[in-house]
């Protein structure tokens, strides 16, 4: 057993004892009941299980929860799909995903949402030129698998959010 304390969507959890072999995915879904994070391949290949990990230096990344232990998240801060809406209002990305019909079965959506949010925050700090935008989005989302709508609608949804606020994301 390991003692685990972490921050999820700005809220402190723990300290609590967890088994060393408990995956982060099982911890979120089974222990906390936060089933918005999905379990896909279980091999870090599809990233439907990805959450946002906020590093102490202010950077963030979207990483899998299926092949890593809950214990390895001790002291860390993460964000999940449940944390995007504020006061009951969906985030700009969430609205864009819905407006574009970006998903059908929804299994990959939480992963795409987290990855796209990381991209937005990265661009807000380090904007890109318009000519590089399509490539930037494509590369950011490329490690996520989707089997319904074939990526294009996610791509267009993220692009629309960025183009709606060019002063923030583009140079």
């Amino acid at each position: 057993m390991t003692t685990l304390s972490l921050t999820i969507n700005g809220r402190a959890h723990g300290p609590m004892d967890v088994r060393d072999d408990l995956t982060m995915n099982d911890f979120l879904r089974e222990h906390l009941g936060m089933t918005g994070t999905k379990f896909g391949c279980g091999a870090a290949q599809c990233l439907s299980c990805a959450v946002i990990v906020d590093n102490p230096d202010g950077t963030s990344y979207a990483g899998p929860t299926c092949v890593v232990s809950a214990a390895s998240f001790n002291g860390k801060a993460i964000r999940t799909v449940e944390g995007h809406a504020k006061n009951g209002e969906l985030s700009a990305l969430q609205k864009a995903f819905i407006d574009h019909f970006a998903f059908q079965c929804g299994y990959c959506t939480a992963g795409f949402l987290n990855e796209s949010q990381v991209l937005l925050e990265r661009l807000a700090k380090k904007p890109v030129v318009r000519a590089d935008l399509e490539k930037t989005i494509a590369e950011a989302l490329d490690s996520h698998l989707c089997r319904c709508t074939g990526y294009i609608k996610y791509h267009e949804a993220v692009r629309d959010v960025i183009l709606a606020d060019p002063g923030r994301y583009l140079v």
């Binding site: 279980g42 290949q45 019909f101 319904c148 074939g150 990526y151 609608k153």
Partner: protein, 230 residues
């Protein structure tokens, strides 16, 4: 048979050509919740099958249609089953293949189909885009080999069974055109599968056009393309 060498296809073909035997056949079939059926005269005998037209070629000659008999079609009442599987789809692709590496890029693509009344046009479009991605997977990536090393061993995952990613697609250059219904009162027709199907022959035809090589099995991988261009 034990002790005998298996006959090779070229030697069988050579013998058939030399004897002016049947060297090619084309068939037509029709289904209406049941297959049409007919009988054909072949080599002095009759042969019945679930097809309604058959043409054969002898030696290097031209195809000639065989006179059919005992033709049976499923009853027209079968149309009342209520399901129409008549949605049609066609796809055009432009590919670029790097000669040195065999890396294929789909530079541009276009799919067009008619599906009757689209109940939710946004989802129809999403299905068509997703179907394109799945067709790309079937043509270029996805493989399920038999025997011990295949997925039947229970050890495969998405690291080996490769499906299309965003980078395998023309994300900004895939045009989907949904034609208006043939008649105003035409019912909706399913498109979920048809939107993947023409993607595969379109890609293989484009590969043939680019390389001169006609591939007969899927997927056509980067390694195979590199070999074809070597």
């Amino acid at each position: 048979m034990p002790g005998l060498t298996p006959l090779s296809l070229p030697s069988i073909a050579a013998k058939a050509h030399a004897r002016n035997d049947v060297t090619g056949a084309m068939a037509h079939a029709f289904s209406r919740w049941g297959w049409s059926r007919a009988t054909f005269p072949i080599a002095g005998q009759t042969w019945s099958a679930d097809i309604d037209a058959l043409a054969v070629r002898k030696g290097g000659g031209k195809y000639a249609r065989l006179d059919r008999s005992s033709v049976k079609y499923p009853p027209t009442e079968n149309n009342r089953f209520g399901t129409v599987f008549g949605a049609m789809c066609a796809t055009l692709v432009r590919v670029e293949i790097v000669r040195a590496t065999g890396v294929l890029r789909i530079a541009k693509a276009y799919s067009v189909f008619e599906c009757g009344k689209a109940l939710v046009p946004e989802i129809v479009l999403g299905q068509a885009q997703g179907g394109f991605a799945m067709g790309v997977g079937y043509a270029l990536l996805e493989t399920l080999p038999p025997y011990e090393d295949g997925p039947g061993n229970g050890q495969w995952n998405l690291g080996q069974y490769l499906i299309a990613r965003g980078s395998d697609l023309p994300l900004c250059d895939l045009e989907i055109e949904v034609l208006p219904p043939v008649t105003p009162d035409e019912p909706p027709k399913g498109i979920a599968e048809v939107v993947m199907i023409p993607v595969v022959p379109a890609l293989l035809n484009a590969i043939f056009d680019a390389t001169g090589r006609r591939f007969q099995s899927l997927p056509v991988t980067q390694t195979m393309l590199k070999g074809a261009l070597a």
